[in-house]
């Protein structure tokens, strides 16, 4: 009984890792890091994390988790409630539908696909933001965020890959 329970707890903990990690990115991303004003907040890395996990382990990264991650980010940021949840859900769907096309492709292709999906996310964010605030917003910050998240994708993907190998597929 005990071993069954322990086994169950261990598997659950392993399976919850991607979502917990993404949650930590959102939480730590809102800390007052001593970054120059031009650098966006680290919370933007959540996009790369969602892309990575939905691409590689969609069964561990369900839309409900994505929704809640977006919602937590919205509540913490003080921005339009639901905006991040909405955008991340669209990203989830975009990645899910392209999984088969992207399967077994070299890293550069995956990176390129991320650049395309992140561009879509940036455009949707900008449109929704402009509608929400009822004015044409400066797209500058969205573009900077986009460039940073694309540039940092390899680093995020590498970290997530280590986690994927170490925690989710034990020897």
């Amino acid at each position: 009984m005990d071993t069954v329970f322990l086994r169950w707890a261990e598997v659950s903990a392993r399976h919850a890792t991607p979502v917990v990690l993404a949650f930590l990115i959102v939480l730590f991303g809102t800390l007052p890091w001593p970054l120059p004003a031009a650098v966006p907040k680290p919370a933007i890395l959540i996009l790369a994390a969602v892309y990575y996990w939905v691409l590689h382990r969609p069964e561990l990264f369900r839309p409900l988790a994505v929704f809640f991650l977006g919602l937590v980010q919205d509540l913490l940021s003080g921005g339009a409630l639901g905006l991040n949840a909405f955008v991340l859900l669209l990203v989830h769907e975009a990645v899910r539908t392209q999984r088969k096309t992207l399967a077994n492709k070299p890293f550069f292709v995956l990176w390129g696909a991320f650049a395309v999906i992140a561009a879509g996310a940036a455009i949707v964010t900008w449109i929704c933001g402009s509608l929400y605030y009822v004015q044409l917003l400066w797209p500058e910050t969205v573009i900077v965020q986009y460039l940073f998240s694309v540039a940092l994708y390899p680093a995020v993907a590498w970290c997530m890959m280590r986690v994927n190998l170490a925690i989710l597929r034990p020897a």
Partner: protein, 285 residues
């Protein structure tokens, strides 16, 4: 041995896929609805935000402490490197400030005399709370800070947030032990200000860039790069003459300013209650 899936299995798989699609659609609709609700029911959403802020405040407060230490160490290293230059600059500053001090003392006396002559009601004394910055929140469209002090520490909505050099912003929302600051640079920030020695009236409007814009300058307004911008005290949120920033660019009847304070480099701020009586709400009689 595996066999081809029977009709029941296929039907179950189809049903499952359908349920998942429906659930996904429901979540997208929920997110869109939340945006609408957030736009209409601002009070409810603000209450929710304050709760979430309170919930994460102890955790963020604890983790942001080492970051604050790292920031301080970085600043100290910078100071050490530029010690010689800094001391020279300070000597110059000191000489200049002594001159200003003499002038200020003269003005103070003169001011008191004039106030007596006019029977002016003195401004109520201000009180303040020093609060740690525990979160540099905000997305692409907003500039916010999360403070580790709230209602139980005496922070109130619309309190003015200052740092050593000038205005940081104002308190937008207060939780029990956390509060959210709307920075000068935020899209929703509008502050009535005075520009330059002539005291030209204008409104300082944030647009999420680092340099907010000055609006409603009169056509004959004479402002130039380098002019000081201070609060005007109109609107009943900020008292008059708090330093805000310096004009950096003038284009026609708008200008951009560089705030004295970079909201993203703060570790502690002062939340000041100037005990301003807000003006009566204008509305239909």
């Amino acid at each position: 041995m595996w066999r081809k899936a029977g009709p029941e299995v296929r039907a179950a798989a189809t049903t499952r896929a359908l349920v998942q699609r429906l659930a996904y659609g429901g979540l997208v609709v929920a997110a869109a609805l939340l945006m609408l609700i957030g736009k209409i029911e601002t009070v409810l959403v603000e209450e929710m935000r304050a709760r979430v802020g309170d919930a994460v405040a102890p955790l963020l407060g604890a983790i942001s402490r080492p970051i604050a230490t790292v920031k301080r160490v970085g600043e100290q290293v910078d100071e050490l490197v530029s010690l010689r230059l800094e001391s020279e600059r300070l000597r110059d500053d000191n000489a200049r400030l002594l001159m200003w001090q003499a002038l200020a003392q003269r003005y103070e006396v003169e001011n008191r005399r004039l106030r007596d002559l006019l029977n002016l009601v003195p401004d109520p004394a201000a009180s303040f709370v020093t609060a740690p910055v525990i979160g540099d929140t905000g997305g692409p469209f907003l500039r916010n800070l999360l403070l580790g002090a709230g209602a139980r520490d005496g922070v109130q909505r619309l309190n003015v947030v200052m740092s050593g050099q000038g205005v940081v912003g104002r308190i937008l929302q207060v939780g029990e032990r956390s509060a959210r600051v709307l920075l000068l640079t935020d899209l929703n920030s509008r502050i009535p200000v005075l520009v330059g020695g002539g005291g030209e009236r204008a409104v300082l409007a944030g647009d999420n860039t680092d340099q907010p814009q000055l609006f409603y300058l009169t056509s004959e307004a004479e402002i130039a790069v380098g002019d000081r911008v201070v609060t005007s005290g109109l609107g009943g949120v900020f008292p008059a003459y708090l330093p805000v920033g310096v004009v950096t660019r003038v284009t026609g009847r708008t200008a951009r300013i560089q705030p004295y304070v970079d909201g993203r480099r703060l570790t502690y701020v002062r939340v000041v209650d100037y005990r301003i009586v807000p003006p009566p709400e204008a509305g239909p009689r």
